[in-house]
């Protein structure tokens, strides 16, 4: 049997030519928009959050380019290891984690406070892509081949949910499930597990923290407690709605400027953006995200190996889920669960994981000729 990846060394110039400049441009645009949004969230001051965001974006943008140039087979080989490391960190959080606002999500790695759950978003997709790469489709539905992926995503989901971080765990679960589904597992298995899930809902509810229950109840009726748990979503809707067609203008968002928006630099950055730039701005932002997702997916389609294809499809789907869950959340379509908007939201770990994923996608594209069909 041939080696799965044909070893052929590309020159640097070849690699650069193979670069997807469209995607690069889109990411850069989004990064610039995010810095302006951050600047606005601090009432037009170039201070702490804006500075940090700028540094992080610059750093992780470079990191993205560096990852792009790593050969795909190297990434392929280290997939399991990457997954195991992240899983170990996730377990480590439980015992050595840093607690903030009631949940243990961060681990202090001396130079950075890392949120392993964010990294798990990517590493799970890498893991599954590698796992399914070699399994022929007729064996996919074998019990043995279901069990390993099932546990590989269930364990991190459970660990993250117990931090507690409902939002991230749901995002991990959804992105894992999409990859598994893409490989061809029969729909009926999903139906079965969905049924089991419904049966488990009462158990799940009893395990929820009071504030999580409140969030879900609040989502169902935000006016239930307009100054308490419902406050965020009511104020967020007011901010978005008052933006109108063209928005209130850059640095003119009264809702954010006067502190009515909670978490305006992290989860609610989209609210701030839509208050200031209105419907038109939102559609443009949404278009940028859609193009990024489209580029990722089409890189996957062009990919000549299943690892690359699965990863790209999986990551595109996950990226899509991050974006839409965040937006749906701040627009009052989903409960507030704490899901950042990729690249736009303030947060190192999220930026790290998104850029890492994008780097792997780019690597798939650059090193595509490397592989054979």
């Amino acid at each position: 049997m041939k080696n799965y990846f044909e070893k052929r060394n590309q020159s640097i110039s070849e690699k650069i030519i193979a670069f997807d400049f469209q995607l690069l441009f889109l990411i850069l645009t989004l990064g610039i928009i995010s810095i302006f949004a951050m600047y606005s969230s601090e009432m037009g001051n170039f201070s702490y959050h804006t500075k940090n965001h700028l540094y992080r974006f610059s750093f992780f943008f470079l990191f993205f380019i560096v990852v792009s140039f790593i050969r795909i087979d190297l990434l392929y080989k280290s997939a399991y290891l990457f997954y195991v490391i992240v899983l170990a960190l996730l377990i480590g959080v439980d015992s050595f984690g840093v607690t903030a606002s009631g949940s243990k999500r961060w681990i202090n790695l001396f130079f950075i406070n890392l949120q392993p759950s964010e990294l798990m978003k990517v590493s799970l997709i890498v893991f599954l892509a590698r796992y399914y790469n070699k399994i022929p489709s007729q064996y996919v539905n074998n019990f043995k081949h279901i069990l390993i992926p099932f546990f590989s995503f269930l364990i991190p989901v459970f660990l993250v949910a117990s931090q507690p971080d409902l939002g991230t765990s749901v995002l991990i679960a959804i992105s894992g499930l999409i990859v598994i589904w893409l490989t061809g597992i029969k729909i009926k298995y999903f139906m079965y597990s969905f049924f089991v899930l419904i049966c488990l809902i009462p158990v799940g509810i009893s395990l929820l923290k009071p504030y999580q229950k409140a969030r879900i109840l609040t989502f169902l009726n935000p006016e239930r407690d307009p100054l308490g748990a419902g406050y965020q979503i009511i104020q967020s809707k007011i901010a978005v709605g008052s933006g109108g067609i063209f928005g209130k203008g850059f640095l003119q968002g009264s809702q954010s400027y006067l502190d009515y928006l909670p978490e305006k630099h992290t989860d609610f950055i989209f609210t701030l953006f839509s208050e200031e730039f209105g419907f038109v701005g939102c559609v443009i932002l949404l278009l940028i995200y859609a193009l990024i997702i489209y580029r990722i997916a089409s890189i996957g389609t062009q990919s000549r190996n299943n690892f690359g294809r699965l990863f790209c499809y999986g990551f595109a789907a996950a990226f899509f889920v991050y974006v839409t869950v965040n937006m749906a959340m701040v627009l009052g379509l989903l409960p507030i669960v704490g899901a950042p908007l990729p690249i736009m939201s303030y947060g190192g770990s999220s930026m790290f994981s998104v850029m890492l994923g994008l780097g792997i996608v780019m690597s798939c594209r650059i090193h595509n000729p490397n592989s054979i069909g």
């Binding site: 049997m1 022929p136 489709s137 007729q138 999409i178 589904w181 893409l182 490989t183 061809g184 104020q235 809707k237 007011i238 901010a239 978005v240 709605g241 008052s242 933006g243 109108g244 067609i245 009264s254 809702q255 006067l258 502190d259 009515y260 839509s274 209105g278 419907f279 939102c282 559609v283 949404l286 859609a290 997702i293 997916a297 996957g300 389609t301 299943n306 294809r309 699965l310 499809y313 789907a317 899509f320 839409t324 937006m327 749906a328 627009l331 379509l333 069909g373």
Partner: protein, 640 residues
Amino acid sequence: MLFSETFQNKTKLISRRMFILSALKISVFVGIISRLFYLQISENIKYRSLSDKNRFREWKLIPKRGIIEDYFGNKIADNIQNFQLHMMPEDVPDMKILFFKLSKIINFNNNEKNKIIKRLKKRKRWEPIVISDNLSWSEFSRLNLFLNEMQGVKPVVALSRKYYEDGSNSHVVGYVSEVSVKDLKSNEYLKEVNVPGMKIGKIGLEKILNKLIVGKPGIQRFEVNSSGKRVKELELIKGIEGKNFRTTIDSETQKFASSLLKNKSGSVCVMDIFTGDIVTLVSSPTFDPNQFVHGISLEEWKELMNHKEKPLINRALMGLYPPGSTIKPIVALSALENDIMSTKKMVECKGKIELYGQTYHCWKEKGHGFMNMRSAIKQSCDIYFYETARKLGVDRLSITAEKFGLGKKVLNIFSEEKSGVVPNTKWKLKNIGKGWFLGETLITGIGQGYFQSTPLQLCLMMAQLANGGYEIKPRIINDLYALQPTINAWRKEFELGKNDNNLNNSNLKKLYRNKENIKFVLDSLYGATNEPLGTSYRSRLTKPDFVYAGKTGTSQIRTITAEERKLKLKNKDLPYEKRDHALFIAFAPYKNPRYSISVVVEHGGSGSSGAAPIAKQVIKKVLERHKIRKKYQLDLFREA
């Protein structure tokens, strides 16, 4: 080739599922865009107004209350600067420490502390609260000295009401005090203008003028952040200052009359007989209205309420007294007008008379002897008027009395004003449910029995006699009159009997039938004051310009028993509560009259000794001030 085949199968499968996924993604994106469309375009107006509601908050500013002036522009209800201490609860790091410090610097006892704590619980932390409403200058300056040690408090210079401290105007002007829940319920206009901390009139002119005198509050619009803190001022809509009012009152004579009534219960009213301007309206005992401005203390309130003489009552408007002998000019006029008696009719007074099986006494036990109408008014002979009333009948008397201003409210703007009673047969049947006794007619003829009148009514009655028998409309608020004849034409018409065109064309209403009857009554009153044997002869003024004419009255508040008559008890021997009320009505000067006056001294003994001397001094004061008053005459009553 098995591997390659499966690979391709797998690729196909993945691509198919990817296609489904893409379709799903597109529909979700469309969903989000339509949600954005709904929020930002369809519901934009709703959310924009909600956002503005978040952003803006308004604070109302207390408008400057209008000033009440007397006839000469002296401010009888003024606004003065006062020093207040405000606190912003959210800026205070430690309430307890602040309260402790305050108790060392200003008058801030535990009682007040508890009040503030109670109020704090009901308020938001960013709402300023007034700790002290009225600081003295020394407190204020001390406070400013220690200000840097106290966070969250702010000394403020505000405006507050200031009245004459002697209380001479208290009953007329009234007072302001904080708006109560009851005020808000009963006054529609207050809902619009009320600002926390605003004060409104509770009684007197302050109450009557409330609507126009409060002004309109200004609005300060701020942008506020989510915790309610003011971020910046966006707009300042200036309020409208309350309207200033000028009254007809002369605060100088007010003061003087008030001082004459000191330690007495009673009232003095002075009226311009042509314009109806109320020059003086004093009630005694009085109170200091300034007590109410910053909230009256419980002890002060108790003292006012438990005072035997009820200082809060405005006796000039609310005091009801039998008019006594002051009604006699009206009884005589009524008899003449109805052609019941002539002025020459003689009646012999023997001190008492037996009628309908009862004995009716004259105040002069020995009797006056033979009396004609003029001498009966002059010496106030009761027997003559028993006879007059008997012939006249109570119903005809009541018509004349009502015509001249008794039995109905004089000013009708003061809600506290009483209308009194002019009894007649119908009235008795309606209000008491019994038929009229003839004996009651006799005592009605000397102003006793059911007769009840306020001092202001008596003053109006006197004025409408003295001006020649024309109706006037008394006023206390100095607004411009409708076209009226000049006073000189009016006087000429009355004295010479010439039908002046000017007067006939006017809207003046005659109250008499025959002018000579009025002249006769006024002449009789001249006799009562300026001729020997007249009841107020001792209180006459001899300086030609000051000569006045008046009628005394003594209203009994009890029936004198036969035994008491034998004992010849004098008023001063009786306990205070049983002494008669002293009344006096007069007009001045006798020639070219201009003012009428009524004086009532409760339990003051007889009219000639208790009331006339006071009236004499007030008349002198009023006439002395007439020259100055003339200069300020704004309306068409100008004397040529």
